[in-house]
């Protein structure tokens, strides 16, 4: 019976064993990569089959699009991450959202002088539809939100602010903190807000209310109306279109004035 040596021979043997394990380790990663490559090819085939049956469904059915996106998110996959990804190439979801992103940027730029870079999701939706034209695919508000979330990556200052059941979309890098957001939400009801409104609803001190309103003025998001009855009104152009249930013609506007 040989006794296991502790001398140089044993050390050399140990080193050899270690080296073999190391080699084996590299081989293991190589194995797994090869396995992944094979599984990837199989997945691609499955996706192609899925696409041939259901590509139209995704294109035409916004609810299905939502389900699809949610399921991807749950398992940790982003189908919109790259135009070169399988999802984008085979299901065509990429081009749909990336093009929408371009259209959103263009609409926001065109209207910025009017609303300071703040627009309701509804108005954005209407304007984008108008721009897309009659023969293009219809888009839902959920589609817009997803496209905007992607645009954030470009460092543009795109933001999504929840107000009263809908959203305000911010397209310029203006710093809006919680206080600003809450005042915007308050203004949503009437399109404007006053210092008294803020003090009554939010129970803030005058100074805090005034600072927030001044910031909104500075950023071009609010307009000051000193001719309003009572105290100064701060109007939000972004919320204007919500208030009208009919388009008034120039004729009607003239007649309406005393």
């Amino acid at each position: 019976m040989h006794r296991r040596g502790v001398g140089a021979g044993a050390i050399a043997k140990k080193k050899l064993a270690e080296a073999k394990y190391k080699e084996r380790g590299t081989v293991l990663a190589e194995d797994q990569l090869a396995q992944m490559s094979k599984q990837l090819d199989m997945f691609k085939t499955n996706l192609e089959e899925f696409a041939s049956k259901h590509k139209q469904e995704i294109r035409k059915n916004p609810e299905f699009r939502v389900q699809f996106q949610d399921m991807c998110a749950t398992i940790g996959v982003d189908p919109l991450a790259s135009g070169k990804g399988f999802w984008s190439e085979m299901l065509g979801v990429g081009d749909f959202y990336y093009e929408l992103g371009v259209q959103i940027v263009e609409v926001c730029l065109a209207l910025k002088h009017r609303n300071g870079g703040l627009i309701t999701l509804e108005e954005l939706h209407q304007q984008v539809l108008k721009g897309r034209g009659k023969f293009a695919q219809d888009v839902s508000q959920d589609d817009l939100i997803r496209a905007i979330k992607k645009l954030k990556v470009l460092g543009t200052g795109f933001g999504i602010i929840p107000v009263g059941g809908t959203y305000l979309i911010q397209s310029v890098p203006a710093e809006l903190n919680m206080d600003h957001t809450v005042v915007l939400q308050l203004a949503e009801k009437n399109g404007y807000v006053t210092v008294s409104d803020i003090k009554a609803s939010l129970k803030w001190e005058t100074e805090r209310a005034r600072q927030v309103l001044e910031h909104l003025l500075k950023e071009g998001l609010a307009w000051l109306d000193l001719q309003a009855p009572g105290e100064a009104h701060y109007w939000l152009p972004a919320l204007f279109t919500d208030l009208y249930s009919q388009e008034i013609t120039a004729e009607e506007a003239r007649e309406a004035l005393p």
């Binding site: 982003d78 939706h125 219809d138």
Partner: protein
Amino acid sequence: MDRFVWTSGLLEINETLVIQQRGVRIYDGEEKIKFDAGTLLLSTHRLIWRDQKNHECCMAIPLSQIVFIEEQSAGIGKSAKIVVHLHPAPPNKELGPFQSCKNSYIKLSFKEHGQIEFYRRLSEEMTQRRWENMPVSQSFQTNRGPQPGRIRAVGIVGIERKLEEKRKETDKNISEAFEDLSKLMVKAKEMVELSKSIANKIKDKQGDITEDETIRFKSYLLSMGIANPVTRETYGSGTQYHMQLAKQLAGILQAPLEERGGIMSLTEVYCLVNRARGMELLSPEDLVNACKMLEALKLPLRLRVFDSGVMVIELQSHKEEEMVASALETVSEKGSLTSEEFAKLVGMSVLLAKERLLLAEKMGHLCRDDSVEGLRFYPNLFMTQS
């Protein structure tokens, strides 16, 4: 079509506007009628249609008159539609465009789109039935739906049955698609797990994996849309695809950059490049990841991120710091300037103008005056006049 009532289009006190859509045409049953271009408004109480050319031509149907609605998707040359099935008109109904008609349904054709949202909101209103809780004037408070003991019009029962069948068929199609989707997701999840396990191996071995293998792994992640588990970036820079893209961009952007004074925001680049491509568009992440590689690949452009987070592409030859000197001159000439004024003078976007002025301020050349009237920049006299 005889359920419509003429109206002024103004909303009553308790009535709120929910959504509106231009470019809607009304069909009486399957027939086109003269109301071909109007704005359709949905309120909590009514469906209102106003002629786009003649605003005085305005009519409405109380929501309580609607039995149910269904969608009809768009086809080639055909707009998407909503089919609205109606109860018979009540005997005391006010005047409308038609006194009688044979159809118990109308179709709304969305020639300028917007059908998806409109249908969603109309379904919501039909479920919530807010008009029952918020009484308005008598003029359009007609019936409240089928009263007990009322005889239902015969036509409606047949229609309901047909639509129930169609609904079942559609549901079957949707559930098949959903089932297939679920199966696909199971396989996708396996890929995610596998990639995590490989990433762990890579982390443990720290350098025992070849560069080549890393590149391969990253490209697999790219195909699947899986975030790189090691770096947490969405598969980070370094894939072949992004390298190629970076080289392409350097070619495409040279001329536009020169036209715009050597600098463009990343958003402008995104729009420019994708508009030019037309198809196989770049995702925002593709663009950012490619741009991150520009400097490393020694290309004549570079990505720059300002303190504010704004990202731009500059020509290597463009020295923003030198531009600051000329900005200072411009501001001094005018006494003071806001970003908008400066942008207009120099012919650049307001976004980039602001960044240049901020940089000048950071370098000590300009001072700011921040008031409700906006942000204005002055030459920094503290520096020049001691």
